[in-house]
Amino acid sequence: MTRRLLIGLYETEDDILAAAEAARLRGMKVVDVYSPYFVHGLERAMGLPPSKLPWVCFALGVSGAAFKVWFEYWTTASDWPVNVGGKPWNSLPAFVPITFEVMVLFAGLSTVFAFFLVSRLWPGRRAVALAPRTTDDRFGLVIEETAYFDAPAVRRFFEESRAVEICERMMEEAA
């Protein structure tokens, strides 16, 4: 199946915010927006739900901390207890600092790896350059042609909403 994508390029943040919201409200199929920086409010304009990555961070942070407490207990009090200055085998308060560090390490690194995984970013991946200059100074609004909005209608919309450039891409996709 071939998808016909139309891309409108905008010059300013105000224009892309207005255009993305209008396209969504009119019922067009907004595939994505490409932008050189994080535009505050665009997630509302596009109607995107918040990310679920905080749950990954929380779960891995808690498991990291739990693992570390168990590991410190097991090595210090069970596997090979060593008498250090007469301190109790199970010196829980003394385990706090390392437990905290390991929690931060687990939570931080795993969130970043989860982000790479979900966003499909990896070394050597080819960037899908749907629209030119979107890593520099242009905002690209990508709309797919549907039965309700054919290519001329979308083009008219782009012109109305002050797009500075319009381009088209055909994408082959296994159905």
């Binding site: 010059e11 300013t12 943040e13 105000d14 207005a18 209008a22 409200l25 009119r26 019922g27 994505d32 927006v33 490409y34 932008s35 050189p36 920086y37 994080f38 665009l42 997630e43 596009m46 995107l48 918040p50 990310s51 990555l53 905080p54 942070g61 410190e72 090595t75 210090t76 090979w80 060593v82 250090v84 301190k87 385990f95 600092p97 390392i98 905290f100 560090e101 390991v102 931060v104 390490l105 931080g108 690194l109 969130t111 970043v112 966003s119 499909r120 970013l121 990896w122 050597g124 991946r125 080819r126 960037a127 899908v128 979107t134 890593t135 100074d137 690209g140 109305e160 909403s161 002050r162």
Partner: protein
């Protein structure tokens, strides 16, 4: 008639930039040939690094006897430099994480270089505890791994073990934070650079970033989570470093004031180092529109605050010693201020507490040359603070027969010079090959094409929102 007073805040980025201009101006230094000035700086830094490598090689082949340590003073230059560099490494995360959570938007111009500085400073710091071990090739024994010696586990009750975990975590999280923040900019570099080889290199490291807003949304979430994790982390790291001292029963070290005192001192010295680097970088790389007098002013206020905290800590230590009626504690502090290392103590007080008071004057905060000079003095003062804390508590201990003096040898001085060489070599390479200012954040901070809440709307949007099936 008097001039009308402008009440609107100064813009964060001067010169009314457009996004495309931001890209080309920030990338200019990475895309033109290195200037003779850069080469001069690089050669000096690299020469210092080579001297350091020679000093460490001599140390490894001969032994710790090449240092000026003795039975009484077992920690001196090595640990001073370790604490000094770790302290420098604290400003980066403060700027990138804590100021991010507090929505201090001026951080966007300085966070990239401050984070880079953090990473290089932590690398310099990490070298010292390793080389001060008698057998540095066994340094990995600090980490618990299943070994053939039992397995014999490490002592999780020891602050030195905590320290190893804290520094390692801090390094890894800072590196991740720095790299994550740089991915969008690496993609910009990839699409901008004319050289094919560099384009492929940047393409590899930018992980195929294409600016998709779905990715941006997750990216912002992750950035915020990392900032939230790094904020307690940065406080924990210097706290744990201070426990290396505070959990021992040495007068002058065994005190509960150490964690806040060390954390404030770390931010103080780190901010001073950021100012030192940034004032030079903005001049040489012509980035005055991005790092403006307003940025320098804001960082100077941080110096003023932390200098006050450090000064209060110096005074509190004396009060505690006096009030405790503990003769050993009292002796240590009198010895610091009036004993054989008093010159170092007074350098510390003058440079860390008295000179920064000049920053109360707005005219001085806005004078880059004056701020540069003050920041250098603070760096010196903070190095002496660590030296005084460590050496004066040790060199006259409980037994007067053990009293002695400590004097660094040429090898130790060479190692310190080498660590500065490593730091500046890394920093100069960073300035040459990576964007020193976060372009994607600055583009979000400029005024171009954005209606601020409360500002008059430009013109009516031509888009009536019609709802279709």
């Amino acid at each position: 008639m008097a001039e009308p007073v402008l009440l609107a805040p100064e813009p964060l980025i001067a010169g009314g930039k457009r996004p495309g201009q931001v890209t080309s101006e920030i990338l200019a230094t990475t895309e033109r040939r290195a200037s003779p000035l850069w080469w001069a700086g690089f050669l000096v830094a690299f020469g210092a690094l080579a001297a350091g490598i020679a000093a460490v090689a001599y140390l490894f082949s001969t032994g710790v006897g090449t240092w000026g340590l003795n039975n009484t003073v077992g920690w001196a230059f090595d640990i001073t430099n370790f604490v000094f560099w770790i302290g420098i490494g604290h400003a980066g995360t403060l700027i990138s994480a804590i100021l991010y959570l507090f929505r201090q938007r001026w951080r966007t111009s300085v966070n990239r270089s401050a984070e880079a500085m953090t990473i290089f400073a932590v690398i310099c710091a990490g070298i010292f505890p390793v080389i001060h071990l008698g057998r540095p090739w066994l340094a990995y024994w600090i980490f618990p791994y299943p070994n053939t010696r039992g397995p014999l586990w490490i002592n999780f009750r020891s602050p030195l073990a905590w320290d190893a975990f804290a520094i390692t975590t801090y390094f890894l999280i800072s590196l991740t934070f720095w790299y994550l923040g740089m991915i969008p900019d690496l993609a910009t570099l990839r699409d901008h650079t004319p050289s094919r080889f560099r384009r492929r290199l940047y393409a590899f490291f930018s992980l195929g970033w294409d600016g998709s807003f779905r990715t941006w949304l997750r990216y912002e979430t992750v950035y915020m989570l990392l900032a939230g994790l790094a904020t307690p982390l940065v406080v924990s790291v210097h706290t744990i470093v201070s426990w290396d001292f505070a959990t021992s029963v040495i007068p002058g070290w065994h005190t509960t004031i150490f964690p806040p005192y060390f954390v404030a001192g770390a931010i103080f010295s780190g901010m001073a180092m950021v100012l030192t680097l940034v004032i030079v970088a903005r001049k040489v790389m012509r980035l005055e529109d991005y790092i403006t007098a307003r940025h320098i002013d804001a960082m100077c206020k941080f110096l003023l605050l932390t200098s006050g905290i450090v000064g209060l800590a110096y005074a509190t230590e004396f009060l505690t010693a006096f009030y405790s009626e503990n003769r050993y504690e009292q002796f240590v502090f009198l010895n610091r201020a009036l004993g054989p290392y008093a010159w170092g103590y007074w350098i510390m007080v003058v440079a860390n507490v008295l000179i920064p008071q000049l920053l109360w004057f707005r005219r001085l905060r806005r004078n880059a040359a004056a701020v540069f000079a003050i920041s250098i003095l603070i760096n010196v003062g903070m190095w002496f603070e660590r030296f005084i804390i460590i050496v004066t508590s040790l060199h006259r201990d409980y037994l007067p027969a053990n009293w002695t003096m400590y004097r660094p040898t040429l090898i130790e001085v060479g190692t310190l010079v080498g660590s500065f060489g490593l730091f500046f070599t890394c920093f100069l390479l960073f300035c040459r090959f990576l964007p020193v200012i976060s372009m994607s954040e600055v583009k979000g901070a400029i005024q171009f094409g954005r209606t601020r809440p409360g500002a008059p709307a430009p013109e009516e949007s031509p888009l009536p929102a019609e709802v279709h099936p």
